[in-house]
């Protein structure tokens, strides 16, 4: 993976460094990068921040990371807390803890914890448990998410959407004790829709399952519908598929 040469850079303890092209960048302790950076491997153990844009094959955050510019990477692993002020373009993203971003375009996203997005979240696959807050649209191929707190999105659309009530994961008792586990969304549109504990204005799909704890004003389906006995559906209509 030495595409950007072997000019490695390491901050141990505390320090800051200018931008540039590097092989491996490692921050052990507290460090700051003051310009745009291109690297093979960008690793933070402790607390790190980057003022400019970051392009790196790998980004690993153990602790906390804060990015003021755009971030582009193939693989990003967050254990702890990360903030990307602008857009995050990533092939495979794993979050254990918390991530907040301006927008996310990804291939796969796996969340154990919480993700917050100011604009849109796009991914071929979004899986995980915890909570998500997306001010714009969640556009996904497959969404499979277990709720452990309050989640919300303006719109969720895609191929398969499955929202379930989270059960038995270690952090669940912590988050779940104090908050309701519920997703609030304006519109869900997907071919296959399965929902639990979701409040929605409109759900449109081919095959739709409205599970327990749901409150949906309008369901439009073209294939099958299944409504749990303790779900509330204001109106459901079958629409003709061409």
């Amino acid at each position: 993976m030495a595409e950007n040469g072997t000019n490695n850079m390491k901050i141990a303890g505390e320090g800051s460094v200018g931008g540039g092209t590097y092989g491996n960048v490692t921050i052990n302790g507290a460090g700051r990068v003051t310009g745009d950076i291109t690297s093979d491997d960008f690793r933070i153990n402790g607390a790190g921040s980057a003022d400019g844009n970051v392009a790196s094959l790998m980004i690993d955050i153990n602790g906390s990371g804060s990015f003021n510019g755009k971030v582009e990477t193939k693989e990003m692993n967050i254990k702890g807390d990360a903030t990307v002020k602008q857009g995050l373009g990533v092939s495979d993203l794993k979050v254990k803890g918390r991530l907040s971003a301006g927008g996310i375009a990804a291939n796969t996203v796996d969340v154990r914890g919480e993700v917050r997005v100011k604009a849109n979240l796009e991914a071929e696959s979004l899986t995980g448990e915890g909570a998500f807050h997306v001010d714009g649209t969640v556009n996904v191929g497959t969404l499979d998410f277990a709720l452990h707190g309050l989640s919300n999105a303006r719109e969720i659309c895609g191929d398969k959407v499955r929202i379930t009530l989270g059960r038995g994961f270690v952090g669940a008792s912590l988050i779940g004790l104090f908050t309701d586990r519920r997703l609030t969304v304006d519109t869900v549109e997907a071919d296959e829709v399965t929902l639990e504990n979701t409040t929605a204005k409109v759900v449109r799909g081919v095959n739709v399952r409205i599970g327990s704890g749901c409150d949906v004003a309008l369901v439009e389906y073209s294939g099958t519908i299944d409504v749990a006995s303790d779900a509330r559906v204001g109106e459901s209509r079958q629409v003709v598929k061409a």
Partner: protein, 207 residues
């Protein structure tokens, strides 16, 4: 509903595509974000599309898929990366991208130009289209070219239209976003409105 628009529901029924396909194409940038127009209706929010554009695009994607093209290939075809291309004026004439008249307009603005990069080719192509339909005079074509060259960059990544307005023989041109509605005073007349994204696509098909 506005004329020229189609609702999402009607689009899916009309074309037989699924939600999954529509949103996958959007993720792959086969369908631009600006075409998703959200409007409030009495049943809540609904999404509309510019009818002709979206139907043509869906048809194109489906026909390319039948030919076993991957989504990435199709993305390349509908929004190609032509940043690196450069043609001489002789090649422009040879490939029939622009007529002698349009090339003349370009030459008078850039007497020393030897090779044209993609942005300049698009400008030239639009000028040629306008001259070809007889909508604008040579003089107006010069100001269209200058406007495109100055302002085209501002519309990078989003869809814009070139508009040309004439009142009492005096013409003005400018760029607007393609979804914008334009109302003019009664003495003024919209002489031409050309979509830049379509021009980019038409041009890239000829390169």
């Amino acid at each position: 509903m506005e004329p020229g628009m189609i609702s999402k529901k009607d689009l899916l029924q009309h074309t037989g595509i699924s939600y999954g396909q529509l949103y996958r194409w959007k993720r792959k940038n086969l369908i631009p974000e600006e075409w998703f127009v959200r409007k409030s209706t009495f049943t809540g929010q609904e999404t509309f599309f510019p009818r002709d554009k979206i139907l043509a695009r869906v048809e194109r994607i489906l026909s390319m898929k039948d030919g076993d093209a991957s989504l990435d290939d199709i993305a390349e075809a509908v929004s190609p990366d032509l940043g690196g291309i450069s043609l001489t004026l002789a090649e422009v004439a040879e490939r029939g991208i622009a007529s002698e008249a349009a090339i003349g307009v370009f030459r008078s603005a850039h007497p020393d130009a030897a090779a044209l990069v993609f942005g300049e080719l698009v400008s030239l192509y639009v000028v040629d289209k306008l001259l070809g339909t007889g909508d604008v005079s040579l003089e107006e074509a010069r100001s269209v070219l200058a406007t495109l060259e100055e302002q085209f960059g501002a519309f990078e990544g989003s869809d814009g239209d070139l508009v040309c307005v004439r009142k009492m023989g005096v013409s003005v041109c400018g760029l607007v976003t393609s979804s914008a509605e334009l109302r003019l005073e009664s003495a003024a007349r919209l002489v031409a409105r050309v979509n830049l994204q379509e021009s980019v696509e038409a041009l890239s098909a000829r390169l």
